[in-house]
C-alpha cells in the first residue's frame, strides 16, 4: 500500500470507513480476505473480519451490529450467486438498506451484471490490485456520504455505481 493512498484516506473529513470483511457460507479460502483486511487497515479503515463459516444472515447481523459502511464479501467456491444476494436480502430486512455491499472472488463476467442489479458492486476477480479495490471503496463511501450527509437517512435512489477504471467489462460470457 502506498503512503499516497493513506493520505487520500486521511483527507476524508468524516469518520473512518468501517468495513466488514466477510466470507458467507462454506468456504475456507481466506487468503484474499485476510490480505484485504490488512490492506484496508493499512489504508486507514476500521476493519471487522467475520471469521469463517457464518451464514448470510449472520453476516448481515454483524454488519448491523458493527454499524459498518461497507460489507466486503469474498467467496471462491462458486456460491456467490446464492450467498451474496442473501446477505443483501437480510441486510434490507434488518435495516441496513444503505450499506454498501461489495463482492469479490471467482466471479465470471456473466454473473457481474446480475449481481450489480441485486446491489452487489465491484465484484473483483483474482489479480485485482489492492489499490483498485481500496480506491473503489473509498470512492463509493464518499459518494454515499455526499448523497446521504446524515447517517440513517433513507433514500429511494439507486446506489451509485462506479466501475473501477482498470477493469473493462467489454463483453459477456456466452
Amino acid at each position: 500500500m502506498s503512503s499516497q493512498t493513506l493520505e487520500n484516506q486521511r483527507s476524508i473529513p468524516q469518520r473512518k470507513i468501517r468495513i466488514l470483511v466477510a466470507k458467507p457460507g462454506l468456504d475456507g479460502h481466506d487468503r484474499g480476505a485476510l490480505v484485504l483486511s490488512r490492506a484496508f487497515r493499512d489504508a486507514g479503515m476500521e476493519v471487522i473480519y467475520s471469521g469463517l463459516l457464518p451464514t448470510p444472515e449472520q453476516v448481515a447481523q454483524m454488519a448491523i451490529d458493527e454499524d459498518v459502511d461497507v460489507v466486503a464479501l469474498s467467496l471462491l467456491n462458486g456460491a456467490h450467486m446464492t450467498a451474496f444476494p442473501k446477505v443483501v436480502h437480510f441486510l434490507k430486512q434488518k435495516g441496513g438498506r444503505e450499506t454498501i455491499v461489495i463482492g469479490g472472488g471467482i466471479i465470471p463476467d456473466s454473473d457481474k451484471p446480475k449481481l450489480e442489479r441485486m446491489g452487489i458492486i465491484g465484484n473483483f476477480g483474482p489479480g485485482t490490485s489492492l489499490k483498485t479495490i481500496v480506491d473503489f471503496i473509498t470512492d463509493s463511501v464518499k459518494k454515499k456520504r455526499e448523497r446521504l450527509p446524515k447517517s440513517g437517512v433513507k433514500s429511494r435512489k439507486k446506489k451509485p455505481r462506479t466501475p473501477p477504471k482498470s477493469r473493462k467489462q467489454t463483453s459477456r460470457q456466452k
Binding site: S2, L26, A39, Q173
Partner: protein, 581 residues
C-alpha cells in the same frame, strides 16, 4: 511441555556443516586457492561496466542468492551422509533406486464435479485416456460434512467437486470401475473416516476385500486449521478419529494410505516454500507422535504415510524443497523416533502444480507455467503428479483443458529424456546449497513450534496461521509495487475481450441430488440407521473406543454423511479459530 533439545542439537550440526570447519568432502588443500580465485573474480564483477538488474537477488522464500555457487559453498557436505544414492538413506536423491527408469510417476488428475453420475463418466474418460490413478474432488458441503439437501449446502452442491451424501453416491461414482485394479485418491479431511468406510463398503459390494483396497485419503486435519479451514469438530476430536483410523487401517487396510500430509494448501494459503516445507513436516511429526501415543509401533504405521506438496514457479527452490523434505523426514524418523524400517523413513509424495500461480488473464500462458512446475516436480523426484488445467483460475476445467494438462505430463515423460536419470540436478553447487539452506530454515521452525508447545498449540495460538498471512501480505505488496512480476497481470497485460469458455455446473443439479436423497431416506431400513448412529455416538463418547467399526456399520446402513457428522458435532461441538485479523 519441555522443548525438545533434538532440534537445537540438529541446528548446531547444520551450522557446523555450513561453516568452513565442517569436515566435508571438499579437498581442503584446493579450497584456499578456489576462495582466492572467487575473491578476484568478485572484484572484477564489481568493477565491471555492466551493472546487475537489482541490488539484491533473493528467491521466493527470501533466501539471498549469490552470483554463482562453487565447491566453496559446500565445504561441510559429506556425500554419503547427506546425499547417498537413490533409494538409500537419507533419500535426498530419491526414494527408489531406479526412480523413473522403473516406472514413470503416476499421472493422477484430480477430478470430480456435479453429480456422482457425471463424475463416474469423467473418471472413465480419464482412465481411457491413459490416466493411471483416480483422484476425486468433493464439493464444499461434502468437505464440511453436510448433505446435499442441507440449508448450509444451498448454492454449493456440485460446485467445487462431486457431491456425496451417502454410500449410494459412492456406489454410483465407482460403478463399472473395479476397485481391485485401480488406486483412488480422495481429497477430503474432516469427514475422511466416513469416506474411507464408504470406499470400504463399495469394495465389499464389489467383492473386493479391505486388504486389497489401494489409495489415499487426505485426512490431514492439522493443515485444515492452518490453511484450508475445512473442519467440523475441534482439533482434538478430529485427531482422536484419525488415531482410530490409524489403528483400523494398520490392522485391516494395509495398502490404504490413510493420511496424506499436505503442504499444498499451506502454500496456496500464502506460505513460502520454506514455510510449506516446515509446517508440513511438523504436521507429519505430530501424526507420528499421535500413533506412538496410541501404542502403535512406528515401523508398522508410518510406512503408510504419504505427502502432498505444491510446486510453484521458483524452479530451483522447488527442486531443493523436495530434496530437503526427503532428507529431513529420514533423519528425524531415524534419529528422533527410532524408526528402523526404511519404509518409515521414505518420504513419498504427490505433487500438484500451483493453483495460485495460474492467472485468469491470458489463460493459455498457464500451460507454460504448469509445464515448468511439472518439470520441477519431476526433477524433485515426485511419485505422482497432477498438472492443473489452464482454465482453472476461473472455474472447473473443461475436458479440452484437462487433456492438455495430462498431455503435458505425457510429453515430459515420453519426449524429454527426463525420466532416464535419477536426481539429475544432484551435485549442482546451487541446488545442494539451496537444499541445505531450506533444511536449516525448516529446523528453525521446528524448534520454534516446539517451544510453543507443538503444532496443535501453535495452531490454537494462531502462530502458524499468522506466519502464513504475513508472507501472503508481503507477496501481494511486492506484486503491487512491481517488485515481483506476473506476466499478464502486472506486466505485459492487455485489455482482454472475454474469458475463455468454461465448464458450468447444471443449476438444477442440487434439486436432483436432494430428491435422490429423500428417496433414499424413505427406502432404507431406518431402524438399522438409528441403531448404528446410536452405536457411533457411544463410541465417540468413549475416548478408548475405536469409532471406525460403528462408522462402517452406519455407512452400510445408508446413514447419510451429515447424519454421521452430526453425531460428532453433538458429541464434540464445533470450532472457532483464534483471531487472525
Amino acid at each position: 511441555m519441555t522443548p525438545d533439545s533434538f532440534w537445537s542439537r540438529k541446528l548446531e550440526l547444520l551450522a557446523e556443516r555450513k561453516s568452513s570447519s565442517g569436515r566435508g568432502d571438499v579437498d581442503r588443500s584446493k579450497l584456499d586457492a578456489l576462495k582466492l580465485m572467487i575473491k578476484n573474480w568478485e572484484k572484477s564483477v564489481i568493477s565491471s561496466e555492466t551493472p546487475e538488474r537489482k541490488d539484491v537477488f533473493e528467491n521466493s522464500s527470501g533466501i539471498p542468492l549469490k552470483r554463482v555457487y562453487t565447491p566453496s559453498d559446500q565445504t561441510g557436505l559429506e556425500y554419503s551422509r547427506d546425499l547417498g544414492l537413490p533409494g538409500e538413506y537419507p533419500y535426498t536423491r530419491g526414494v527408489y533406486p531406479t526412480m523413473y527408469r522403473g516406472r514413470p510417476w503416476t499421472m493422477r488428475m484430480f477430478s470430480g464435479f456435479g453429480s456422482a453420475n457425471q463424475t463416474n463418466k469423467r473418471l472413465k474418460y480419464l482412465l481411457k485416456e491413459g490416466e493411471t490413478g483416480l483422484s476425486i474432488a468433493f464439493d464444499m458441503p461434502t468437505l464440511y460434512g453436510y448433505d446435499a439437501d442441507s440449508d448450509r449446502a444451498e448454492g454449493e452442491v456440485g460446485k467445487c467437486g462431486v457431491s456425496v451424501s451417502s454410500l449410494l453416491d459412492m456406489e454410483t461414482i465407482f460403478a463399472g470401475i473395479p476397485l481391485d485394479q485401480i488406486s483412488t485418491s480422495m481429497t477430503i479431511n474432516a469427514p475422511a473416516a466416513v469416506l474411507t468406510t464408504m470406499y470400504a463398503a463399495v469394495g465389499e459390494k464389489q467383492g473386493v476385500p479391505l486388504a486389497k483396497l489401494r489409495g489415499t485419503v487426505q485426512t490431514d486435519i492439522l493443515k485444515e486449521y492452518i490453511a484450508q479451514k475445512e473442519w467440523a469438530f475441534p482439533p482434538d476430536a478430529h485427531l482422536r478419529i484419525i488415531r482410530d483410523m490409524m489403528i483400523f487401517c494398520t490392522d485391516r487396510m494395509p495398502l490404504w494410505h490413510y493420511i496424506s500430509i499436505s503442504g499444498y494448501h499451506i502454500r496456496e494459503a500464502g506460505a513460502s516454500a520454506v514455510q510449506e516445507l516446515a509446517f508440513t513436516l511438523a504436521d507429519g511429526f505430530s501424526y507420528v507422535e499421535l500413533g506412538k501415543n496410541a501404542g502403535l509401533d512406528v515401523d508398522k504405521f508410518v510406512p503408510r504415510f504419504s505427502f502432498f506438496f505444491n510446486c510453484d514457479m521458483d524452479f530451483f527452490e522447488e527442486i531443493a524443497k523436495f530434496r530437503a523434505a526427503r532428507r529431513i523426514w529420514a533423519n528425524v524418523l531415524k534419529e528422533k523416533y527410532g524408526a528402523k524400517n526404511p519404509r518409515s523413513m521414505l518420504l513419498r509424495f504427490h505433487t500438484q502444480t500451483s493453483g495460485v500461480s495460474l492467472t485468469w488473464q491470458q489463460p493459455l500462458n498457464n500451460v507454460v507455467r504448469t509445464t515448468i512446475e511439472a518439470l520441477a516436480a519431476i526433477l524433485g523426484g515426485t511419485q505422482s503428479l497432477h498438472t492443473n488445467s489452464y482454465d482453472e483460475a476461473w472455474a472447473l476445467p473443461t475436458e479440452e483443458a484437462v487433456t492438455v494438462a495430462l498431455r503435458t505430463q505425457q510429453i515430459l515423460f515420453e519426449e524429454t529424456g527426463l525420466a532416464d536419470v535419477a536426481d539429475p540436478l544432484g551435485g549442482s553447487y546451487y541446488i545442494e546449497s539451496l537444499t541445505n539452506e531450506m533444511e536449516e530454515q525448516a529446523y528453525r521452525y521446528f524448534e520454534k513450534i516446539d517451544q510453543l508447545g507443538g503444532v496443535l498449540e501453535a495452531i490454537k495460538q494462531g502462530y502458524i496461521q499468522r506466519e502464513i498471512a504475513s508472507t501472503s501480505y508481503i507477496k501481494t505488496q511486492q506484486l503491487e509495487s512491481g517488485q515481483r512480476s506476473i506476466v499478464g497481470v502486472n506486466k505485459y497485460d492487455v485489455a482482454e475481450e472475454k474469458p475463455i469458455d468454461y465448464l458450468k455446473v447444471n443449476p438444477t443439479l442440487s434439486k436432483k441430488v436432494a430428491s435422490r436423497l429423500r428417496a433414499l431416506k424413505r427406502r432404507r431400513d431406518n431402524v438399522r440407521v438409528r441403531k448404528s448412529l446410536e452405536d457411533l455416538r457411544k463410541a465417540f463418547e468413549d475416548e478408548k473406543a475405536n469409532s471406525i467399526f460403528p462408522m462402517l456399520e452406519c455407512v452400510r446402513s445408508y446413514a447419510t454423511l451429515q447424519e454421521i457428522m452430526d453425531v460428532g458435532r453433538n458429541v464434540f461441538g464445533g470450532w472457532k479459530e483464534p483471531v487472525l485479523v
